[in-house]
Symmetry: C2
Subunit: 254 residues, 2 copies
């Protein structure tokens, strides 16, 4: 059977996250509905991660198995004809037989956008965290460095999904200001539930003087969720990169 990997992009505003649910509409659901029409048979897709309600993806990977003959370089056109305007397939390749969007993932990057200004921008509504009180990107960056490395991240996750271990490796967590926008980029070999948003909230707390930016190490050591900052709201979060070996890796970086 063919195993096809797609690069997707979606505005998550109108979706209850990626993963199919009983009641609410999800991105996986509309992708599977479109794929069912293209392939003329119900087909399950495997995504590279759950994203929460309102979280976006500039790059997302999903794969599916099929016997259909559709050429991979035409798949995006066929899919986009059936997908709603806020979800798009950008690219597709044939993957190895054992490729799996979530299990084969080497590392992922999330980017978080904070609009730090007195005045809301209607065109950024539901696309950023609007934070009117002043933030210092340098202090946030200093705090962020405390997360880099291999640590137990239990202090910055929400309980909800079972995981074998809460140890992860954060490869980078950089914070910079561009005008009114503060951009936070965090890359790790994996993210616990709400981990990226809790890390963002913790750097904001450091900038607001509620946490010492040099105390991140001891907060992580404590394993105590109450010592870290609050979970930042979902609308500022974007999955921006997913790395794989081989052909799929090349497609995702195109």
């Amino acid at each position: 059977m063919r195993n096809i990997a797609m690069r997707l992009r979606y505005d998550g505003t109108n979706y209850h996250g990626w993963q199919i649910q009983d009641k609410d509409i999800t991105v996986q659901q509309v992708v599977e509905e479109a794929l069912g029409k293209v392939l003329k048979t119900p087909t399950r897709v495997v995504g590279c991660g759950r994203t929460d309600a309102g979280v976006h993806a500039q790059r997302y990977c999903a794969n599916f198995r099929t016997d259909a003959r559709i050429p991979v370089d035409k798949l995006h056109l066929a899919m986009n004809a059936h997908l709603p305007g806020d979800v798009a397939v950008c690219d597709a390749v044939e993957a190895d037989e054992d490729f799996n969007s979530i299990l084969s993932c080497v590392k992922k990057e999330y980017t978080y956008y904070i609009h730090n200004s007195n005045i809301r921008d209607p065109f950024l509504d539901k696309r950023v965290w609007f934070h009117p009180s002043a933030l210092d990107a340098d202090i946030m960056h200093r705090a962020a460095q405390g997360f880099v490395g291999t640590h137990d991240f239990a202090a910055v996750r929400s309980v909800g999904t079972d995981v074998k271990s809460t140890v992860r490796t954060v490869h980078w967590f950089d914070v910079e200001r561009k005008g009114d926008i503060i951009i936070l980029r965090v890359c790790a070999n994996g993210f616990l539930y709400n981990m990226a948003r809790a890390m963002v909230g913790t750097t904001v707390f450091a900038s607001l003087g509620k946490i010492n930016p040099d105390d991140i190490g001891s907060i992580l050591d404590s394993g105590d969720r109450c010592l870290a900052g609050p979970t930042a709201p979902p609308q500022g979060l974007y999955m921006t990169n997913v790395w794989y070996d081989g052909e799929v890796g090349t497609m995702m970086q195109r």
Copy 2:
């Protein structure tokens, strides 16, 4: 009585244009509702122009009369606390007694964005005209120059509102490509109903070879709406500038 002018910004996706209607929600309605809460009395606002359903404004001017003592430099904060996330007040000033957002307007600029690419961008959904077939911005610019100057614009308006004259002066109409986005900026002393969108549609028809880009003059001379191109869809259109004399003019250019 004080006469206060505000600079506004709105994403028009969820509104049936600016002007209050019986049934559908409009931007004027939510602005008047917020103003009623801030001033604690129903207050009418005068906008600088009707915009159609789905049309956006990066800069929009509206004024109202009041005896309330609210300082103009705090008005945007008070208003934004009551406005929905897709509409914002950016600034406000005291205007002359006889200032009127629509009648005092010297000239206006609309900007139209076309996303000219094979693949839709979910983050531009309802913010641009997605046009997958190739367009040539140079040909569009050449056609656009035929509209510049003082002409009878009856050939590029939709009938719907009574106007005394269909003669207007277009100060500039520039078309340029930046990557996948084609940007059209048109400034005039006034716009007839659907005129900006019909002019955009006509330049697109020129690029597609359905109209000779050098024939705009004779199309305008004919006064025949059927000779011009189709009305471009609303979601690509933004009011981007409005010019006035005096204090309000200074605020609008801030």
